[in-house]
């Protein structure tokens, strides 16, 4: 298997084709014909093996017989088209079944073409070329709405210049890269002229940039000239300042996190990384994009950062917690949100940190949110957290198997606590023997 994969990947320019054909002689003829035309061909003689090959090799094209010993080609095609990783791969049916209903059914299963046997090799090759030519790039699935600021989102600038002509000129220059702040809007940057005073209502953490319309600053203050380069320079300065601020804040957060893990929660070392990894796998199964999966990963890693502000005695207590201790423990999502709320670039993680103990039926904490109020990213981390916890020995119960853990989570779904679709995605992974 590995040899096939390596051989195929070492020949990147060649078209890679998986042929699923139960008749050995037909498969051999087809394989030779395609190889003679520069294609790398792998053959499966039943549907199960065909799906395995497609998932492993991710070929450029699948040629699929309808009648197979273990299933039919329609089933194989639908499985290929239902898997996010394989769905963009074009499929061509090759079948002796030539009735209109068979062709309609094959094409409606997502096939790019349907060729009736016997066929001329020249026609087959022409159709393969046509299908490969039309194969679109994989469509990026619509994902859950990102809960963090999009990388390309425009910054907001406020021009606090007294001279009306200069103010209008600067506003026109900045409009190409910035949104101009309304009166009640908090800007990312404030532009002032020369050494003029910064408006009193501008918060301390907002970047202030001083510009000069040809008059050098008399007190040595660094001035940015008002010309065509102004928007680019302001943009760079603001983003650099923001990055510096966030790096400093992130470093502080990591110190707090390391402190929490090291001093309070040693028995669960590694649990956070497993939860993050599992949550990302679920996110991938649900078609979430890279950015959202990164948010999920960081949110999962930092979800219990609030524990750092709880007494160690509560976190390490082996017996039952008193009502007061329970109430204190259930404040850790709020404390975690407080710790991270100062970091602008981590704002997308806050819903995960605050709400990962909420339940769909409203019985969770700290806000007793109900189903539609809990973002999908949060529901994914909640499921991953509970699943990974069940796989570990705890003081009050032994670890359970993955299959048993899924059953326990399905019971929680039936009680209305967890998102059924998220647990279903997890169950699919577990049945498949883990994420690929």
């Amino acid at each position: 298997m590995k040899a096939i994969e390596e051989a195929v990947r070492s020949d990147a320019p060649a078209t890679r084709v998986v042929v699923v054909e139960d008749d050995q002689a037909s498969a051999d003829v087809l394989q030779r014909r395609l190889q003679a035309n520069g294609m790398v061909v792998s053959v499966a003689h039943d549907g199960r093996r065909g799906i395995e090959l497609v998932e492993e090799l991710l070929p450029d094209l699948v040629l699929l017989d309808v009648m197979l010993p273990d299933t039919d080609g329609y089933d194989v095609c639908l499985r290929i088209k239902s898997n996010t990783a394989t769905s963009p791969i074009p499929v061509i049916f090759l079948s002796a079944r030539g009735e209109v209903v068979d062709k309609v059914r094959g094409l409606s299963c997502g096939a790019a073409d349907y060729i009736t046997k016997p066929f001329q090799a020249a026609e087959l090759l022409a159709r393969i070329d046509a299908v490969l030519g039309q194969a679109r790039n994989p469509r990026v699935p619509r994902l859950g709405r990102p809960i963090e600021r999009a990388p390309g989102e425009r910054l907001v600038a406020r021009v606090a210049i007294a001279d009306p002509a200069l103010r209008e000129h600067v506003q026109q220059l900045l409009a190409s890269r910035f949104d101009l702040a309304d009166a009640d809007e908090t800007p990312d940057v404030v532009i002032v002229e020369g050494s003029a005073a910064v408006p009193a209502d501008v918060a301390e953490d907002v970047a202030v940039i001083r510009v000069s319309a040809g008059r050098a600053g008399s007190d040595g203050t660094e001035m940015i000239p008002v010309d065509a380069q102004l928007p680019r320079i302001v943009d760079l300065l603001v983003r650099e300042r923001s990055l510096d601020h966030d790096l400093q804040a992130a470093a502080e957060a990591l110190i707090v996190l390391a402190s929490a893990i090291g001093s309070h929660d040693r028995p669960s070392a590694g649990h956070g990384e497993r939860v993050a990894s599992r949550a990302v796998q679920i996110g991938r199964a649900l078609g979430l994009d890279d950015s959202t999966r990164m948010t999920i990963r960081l949110g999962a890693l930092l979800r219990d950062v609030g524990n750092a502000r709880l007494p160690a005695a509560i976190l390490t207590k082996s017996g039952e917690l008193s009502p007061e201790e329970r109430a204190m423990l259930e404040r850790h999502p709020i404390l975690g949100e407080e710790i991270l709320s100062g970091f602008k670039r981590l704002s997308g993680l806050l819903p995960i940190v605050r709400h990962h103990h909420e339940r769909l039926d409203g019985t969770g904490y700290p806000d007793a949110l109900r189903a539609e109020q809990i973002p999908l990213e949060v529901r994914i981390v909640s499921v991953a957290d509970r699943f990974e916890a069940l796989l570990s020995d705890r003081a009050d119960r032994p670890a359970v198997s993955e299959a048993e853990a899924v059953r326990i989570l399905q019971s929680a779904v039936a009680r209305g606590e967890l998102d059924a679709a998220v647990v279903a995605a997890l169950a699919t992974q577990v049945r498949a023997g883990g994420a690929r």
Binding site: T71, D72, Y74, D75, L78, R79, K81, S82, S87, V101, V104, R105, L107, S108, C109, G110, P141, R142, L143, G144, R145, A285, L286, G287, L360, D361, R370, A371, E372, Q373, I374, P375, L376, R379, V406, R407, Q410, V413, A414, G416, D419, A420, A421, V422, V423, A424, A425, A427, T428
Partner: protein, 256 residues
């Protein structure tokens, strides 16, 4: 807000509805016989993809009632020429209410724009009353019912001209989970399907009729009863059993 529906279809009375799970070869025979006696349905393009999105509450009240033999399904149906990977797509949607009992069903549906269908699901739009099903559906929505599971299949449908008999064969039946919608989800964005829960290896043949069956259909019904692999619950029940892990693909749900 009450929005007049551009298309409204309803059963005149409860009709018989029997489902059979049969092999591909049996289904071919059955549909060949059917084609000799009934015309293809004018409203159903052969083998078009039917996508049905089912609603339920976090407490699964609709499913639990269905398991007890009587329940009203609340669902949104879409038709596409190729299988969509998303549901609640822009275009025409059919809001369907179906009151299932042991042997009979009563269905009412409204063809509206997906925008109106979404508005109805949010409780912002009401539909005209007929059998009281719309009011029951509104109560379910107020109780928190939301889209939770999806079926997709290719349907071949034959209908008598007077609509007294309808025979369908559903191929490639697939069951999907659908993540719970969040309040800030875009109103007009389609929802991506969740995980594939299961695929039906067989063909589902359904017979629906009013009054007496014609002789050829009586024979066909008897043949289907002999040939069926098992008693067939509704697609909704099967989908929900898969979704909640209450079946492993065998005949009976797992005992709790």
């Amino acid at each position: 807000m009450t929005t007049p529906a551009p298309a409204h279809e309803t059963d005149a009375e409860r009709r018989h509805e029997h489902r059979f799970q049969v092999s591909e070869s049996i289904a071919r025979l059955v549909m060949r016989t059917t084609a000799n006696n009934l015309p293809l349905s004018r409203d159903d393009r052969p083998y078009q993809w039917s996508t049905t999105t089912y609603c339920d509450t976090v407490a699964w009240s609709i499913f639990r009632a269905a398991e007890k033999g009587s329940a009203m399904q609340l669902r949104i149906r879409e038709y596409h020429r190729t299988r969509p990977r998303e549901v609640l797509n822009p275009g025409t949607a059919w809001i369907e209410f179906k009151d299932d009992e042991q042997d009979t069903s009563l269905k009412e549906r409204f063809g509206v724009s997906m925008e109106v269908a979404r508005s109805f699901l949010r409780g912002d739009t009401t539909l005209p009353e007929d059998h009281g099903l719309a009011e029951r559906a509104s109560l379910l929505l107020r109780d928190g019912a939301r889209p939770v599971a999806v079926t997709q299949y290719n349907r071949l449908a034959y209908n008598s001209l007077d609509s007294s008999l309808r025979i369908t064969a559903d191929h490639n039946l697939m069951y999907f989970a659908l993540p719970w919608e969040t309040r800030d989800d875009g109103d007009t964005e389609p929802s991506p399907l969740g995980s594939l829960l299961a695929m039906e290896p067989d063909v589902i043949v359904e017979m629906k009729w009013y009054g007496e069956l014609p002789h050829w259909a009586v024979d066909l019904h008897a043949y289907l009863k002999e040939s069926t692999r098992e008693e067939r619950p509704s697609k909704f029940i099967v989908a929900m059993r898969w979704l909640l892990g209450e079946t492993d693909g065998t005949k009976k749900p797992k005992k709790k």
